[in-house]
Symmetry: C2
């Protein structure tokens, strides 16, 4: 065992990020192997716009839990790929309403079986004694209730 695993809790963000990277890279390979030109990072945008067409940029960002500039850069790529389009909101000149293009809609249909395969593989992979998907949800909930910082704060040395 290396000293980092031994340090347990302290290296948690490192380990989460590494696992995220591993899964994203394999996700990329899986799309490729199925002959589909799609990047895992596009998933939240495409999936959300498929289910909720007509969202604005910030609404979409909130929905997928990203900062809006991150969302904007994904949207740019997806517009270049002709997978999404936008139009001005007639009632609010500031707003851009976002939709899948028909190419985007078709790609979603093509990806559906791949998503099923991926989803099954992830469920298999994470369905261990401590279920990772549930553990994430539970930890996120705990964090919302009282953040990591708030849990550490009471132990600050008094000035």
């Amino acid at each position: 065992m290396n000293v980092i695993d031994a340090s347990g809790a302290l290296a948690i963000s490192t380990r989460l990020q590494r696992l995220a990277d591993l899964l994203r890279k394999d996700g990329q390979m899986i799309y490729k192997a199925f002959g589909i030109d799609f990047e895992p990072k596009w998933f939240p945008v495409i999936y959300t716009l498929f289910h909720k067409p007509g969202l604005g940029v910030v609404e979409l960002a909130n929905e997928i839990g990203y900062a809006h500039p991150s969302t904007i850069s994904l949207l740019k790529e997806l517009e270049n790929e002709k997978l999404i389009r936008s139009k001005k909101d007639r009632h609010d000149e500031r707003k851009r309403l976002l939709f899948l293009t028909s190419k985007g809609e078709e790609l979603v249909q093509e990806m559906r079986p791949v998503w099923t395969v991926m989803s099954d593989a992830i469920l298999e992979l994470t369905n261990t004694t401590n279920n990772l998907l549930k553990a994430i949800a539970e930890t996120e909930a705990g964090f919302r209730g009282k953040s990591f910082f708030e849990r550490a704060k009471p132990h600050l040395p008094r000035k």
Copy 2:
């Protein structure tokens, strides 16, 4: 519930990364609140060199599970901070052996109580029905046994 949470498994890398970010940022705030000039990302290097002084660059990278160029850039920062130093290996001219400086050693002693507080907070946060730390370890182990890609591969359409 937003559509991404509903998509469950498919957005897993996104969610892992977001949680990693949250924890890293709070970690940063905690060091600051304790008046310690230290970044969470330095932890794996400092902690490992504290426990195993004299490692080479690649040995250290393997120990902390990073690619060696990532490790090199952390080492540069830590050398600027005067927290680590290196010397040539007498028996292998290619190798740089890495050590904490005395400033580094002192900082470790200063951080020990903070690490205890952080570790307790993380354990509290992650000790839910499905323990996140254990779930990560279990999923990593499952992945090593058979990767995400390998689990999806059998379902490829035949050519």
